[in-house]
Structure formats: structure tokens, C-alpha cells
Amino acid sequence: MGEAQQAVTVKPKRFSLDTWAVLLAFTLAALVRAGVFKHIPW
């Protein structure tokens, strides 16, 4: 095999919009559970 130089493109891993939304919701739920947010007004 020739001594070719190979370029490897490393793409940063990305979550889908769905996954980000789920992560945000879980984080908020965890903060509520931990008592950081005690009362959320509406």
C-alpha cells in the first residue's frame, strides 16, 4: 500500500434536538427533586 497521507475528519458528536429537550427536562426535574427550585409560579 502506498504511503498516502490520510486525512480523518473528526466531527464533534451532536445530540438531536429531541435529546437536548429531554436532557433539559431531566435537569429541571432533578433540580426540582433536589429542592433547588421549590416553587415555580404560574
Binding site: M1, E3, A4, Q5, Q6, A7, V8, T9, V10, K11, P12, S16, L17, D18, T19, W20, A21, V22, L24, A25, F26, L28, A29, V32, R33, F37, K38, H39, I40, P41, W42
Partner: protein
């Protein structure tokens, strides 16, 4: 073997700058949504003090109306657009948090009934839209996109199918425009029909979830009727969303068998890629709530967080609906979509009325 490997690191985009670009639009969503909330609280009070007869208009409708006025008069300036487009993100986060208001037993019971109705709706909608597409001689792939959009879940389903069946971008924008325009109309017609037929919250909520195609509009159409109807509309629509992968897979097989799309390799992977992950998030939060992981006060807090997320979504529904832009997409796909949607709305209303009788909703 190569002697050296040059690793070209794709520069991670400046995330902070990207987030900053979203800020104006997100603030606009929050401003429009909060204005809707203030109007709900104060317009009725003002009318009462002045002895006017004025219907009680919920924040959902105010937020959508303000958004529609901005979008269709001044237009949404460029600086706000990226942030306004996040309305779907807030919708999905809101749905996951809404899981706290459903005990798993209710989800299984209501979801089970919804699933049966959703299955009938999907088969009926696909068959009818395909028939209409043939009658109106639409391009076959455009017909497939309209059928998936009206049968499953609006814009997400159309985008997922476009990739899987290698449809033209133009076809997909036709189908999306038709679904969005009809979704906007349903916001005004569904509550009127529901009230005139004296539908219960449950029957109306399930009907909105079955017949309104885009998730944001389905949630809004439900919430315009009542809070309980809004919850059920989201649950039913989420059941529909959960089936997106199977329908897209079936279409991918169909077009691949005709040599007009690439064959699907790993089916399980395909299904996982297309499966909306927020459905799993919703089920997990619902499971945690069922097993008393959250106290009563915490469930109240999560429910309010979900309401705030939906507030941003409803503002976004109005802000991104531009009737002029939608009307430019051509009459034929819109006509097919409109006839199909009216038929599907009538068909699903019949299903819901039958279920109301059978299950005593």
C-alpha cells in the same frame, strides 16, 4: 498502510455565540407568551368593570394571535428567527415535564385506547390521502409526504420521510406548507366545533390529538378548549408520534422496492433513529411520578415548568405562521391537504364519538 494520519479537527462552532444568537428570538417568544398571559388576566377584568360582554379568552389564543399579528404585519426580523425556531425544542421539553402529571396507569389506559384509535386513524388517513393524490394527479412522492404528514405527525414526519424516500425538497416544502396552513386553521375551528357538539374534555382532547397534525398545533388546539383537554391532546399526539418510525420505514420499503429510494439496511437502527426520544423522556418522568419519586409540591412545580415551556411554544406557533408565504406554495397540494384534513377530522370525530359512547368518556 498509511504512514501518517492527519487528524483534521473540525473546529467546534463557537457554542456560546450560537446560543447568544438564539437569545433575541427566545426572549420574543417569552415576551409574546407572557403578554398573552397578562391579557388573559386583565382583559376579562377590564371588561367586567366596564360592564362589557367579552368572552374569556385564554392565554393560549392571545399568544397565538399576537404572534400571528407580528408575523403577518411587520414580519419577524432576521435577528429573532433563530430563537423563534426553538419553539419545537420547548414543546418537547414541555411534553417530557408533562409526564409528571400522568400516572403510568393512566398513560397505559389512555395510551392503549389512543393507540387503537391512532392505528385506525393512520391507516384511514394514508389510504384516503393516497386516493386523493391519485385523483388530483399529484406527484407520487408528494402524495406520500402529504399522506405521512396528515397520518402521523406533521412536519417531523414529512422531514423524516423526505430523507428516507429521497423526495424533492420542493415536494417537502409543499407538504409542510399545506400541513401548517391547515394546522393554523384548526386552532380556530376545532374549539368551535368541540363547544358546539358539547364534547367532554376527554373526547375533545383525544380528537385534537388524532386530527391535528403538527404537535405544537395539536397541543394548542387542546389547550384552547381546557387544561385537561390540552393534556389529553398531547398524550394522544405523543402516541401518534411514537409510531412515526414504523410508517416512515414502510414508505422507505415501498419506494426502495420500486427502485426510487435506497434500501434500508439495519431496520432496528432505522427505527431508533426515527423514534422521537421525548416520548421516552415523557414515559420516564411519568414512571418516576407514579412511584412517588416526586412530592406533591414537586409535581406542581414540574407541571408549572411544563406550562412555561408550552407558553413559549404557543407564541412560536403564531410567530412562525405567515399566511402570505404559505399561500405561495401552490393551490393543488393545499387543496388535497384541505380535503384530506376535513375528511380525517370528520372520520376521527366519528371515532371519538363512538369511543365516548363505548367507554363513557
Amino acid at each position: 498502510m498509511a504512514s501518517s494520519v492527519a487528524v483534521v479537527q473540525v473546529r467546534p462552532a463557537n457554542r456560546a455565540l450560537q446560543l447568544l444568537k438564539l437569545a433575541p428570538g427566545v426572549l420574543l417568544l417569552a415576551g409574546v407568551g407572557y403578554a398573552g398571559k397578562l391579557l388573559e388576566a386583565n382583559v376579562g377584568k377590564y371588561a367586567k368593570t366596564h360592564h362589557w360582554t367579552f368572552p374569556n379568552i385564554e392565554y393560549v389564543l392571545w399568544a397565538i394571535l399576537i404572534g400571528l399579528v407580528i408575523s403577518n404585519t411587520f414580519g419577524v426580523p432576521e435577528i429573532f428567527r433563530a430563537g423563534v425556531a426553538t419553539y419545537e425544542f420547548w414543546l418537547k421539553a414541555g411534553i417530557v415535564l408533562l409526564g409528571a402529571r400522568f400516572l403510568l396507569g393512566d398513560v397505559l389506559k389512555l395510551g392503549g385506547t389512543s393507540l387503537a384509535l391512532v392505528a385506525i386513524e393512520i391507516v384511514g388517513a394514508i389510504a384516503f390521502m393516497t386516493f386523493l393524490g391519485r385523483v388530483f394527479r399529484l406527484k407520487p412522492k408528494l402524495t406520500s409526504l402529504l399522506a405521512v404528514g396528515s397520518a402521523v405527525c406533521g412536519v417531523s414526519a414529512i422531514i423524516a420521510t423526505q430523507g428516507a424516500i429521497e423526495a424533492d425538497e420542493e415536494d417537502s416544502s409543499f407538504a409542510i406548507a399545506a400541513i401548517l396552513a391547515l394546522g393554523a386553521l384548526s386552532l380556530f375551528t376545532f374549539p368551535l366545533i368541540g363547544h358546539s357538539l358539547h364534547l367532554t374534555d376527554q373526547a375533545y382532547g383525544v380528537w385534537s390529538g388524532l386530527a391535528v397534525d403538527n404537535t405544537a398545533e395539536a397541543a394548542a388546539a387542546g389547550a384552547l378548549y381546557s387544561d385537561a383537554a390540552g393534556k389529553l391532546a398531547v398524550l394522544t399526539k405523543t402516541t401518534r408520534n411514537a409510531l412515526i418510525g414504523f410508517v416512515v420505514l414502510a414508505y422507505a420499503f415501498y419506494w426502495a422496492s420500486r427502485g426510487q429510494a435506497q434500501a434500508v439496511g439495519n431496520k432496528a437502527r432505522f427505527l431508533w433513529q426515527k423514534f422521537p426520544k421525548f416520548v421516552l423522556g415523557f414515559l420516564l418522568i411519568s414512571t418516576l411520578a407514579t412511584f412517588a419519586f416526586f412530592s406533591k409540591e414537586q409535581i406542581g412545580a414540574l407541571a408549572n415548568l411544563s406550562r412555561w415551556a408550552f407558553l413559549l411554544t404557543f407564541a412560536g406557533v403564531g410567530l412562525r405562521t405567515n399566511f402570505k408565504a404559505l399561500s405561495k406554495q401552490g393551490l393543488k397540494p393545499f387543496l388535497v391537504g384541505a380535503i384530506g384534513e376535513v375528511a380525517i377530522a370528520g372520520f376521527t370525530l366519528g371515532l371519538v364519538l363512538a369511543a365516548q359512547r363505548i367507554f363513557g368518556w
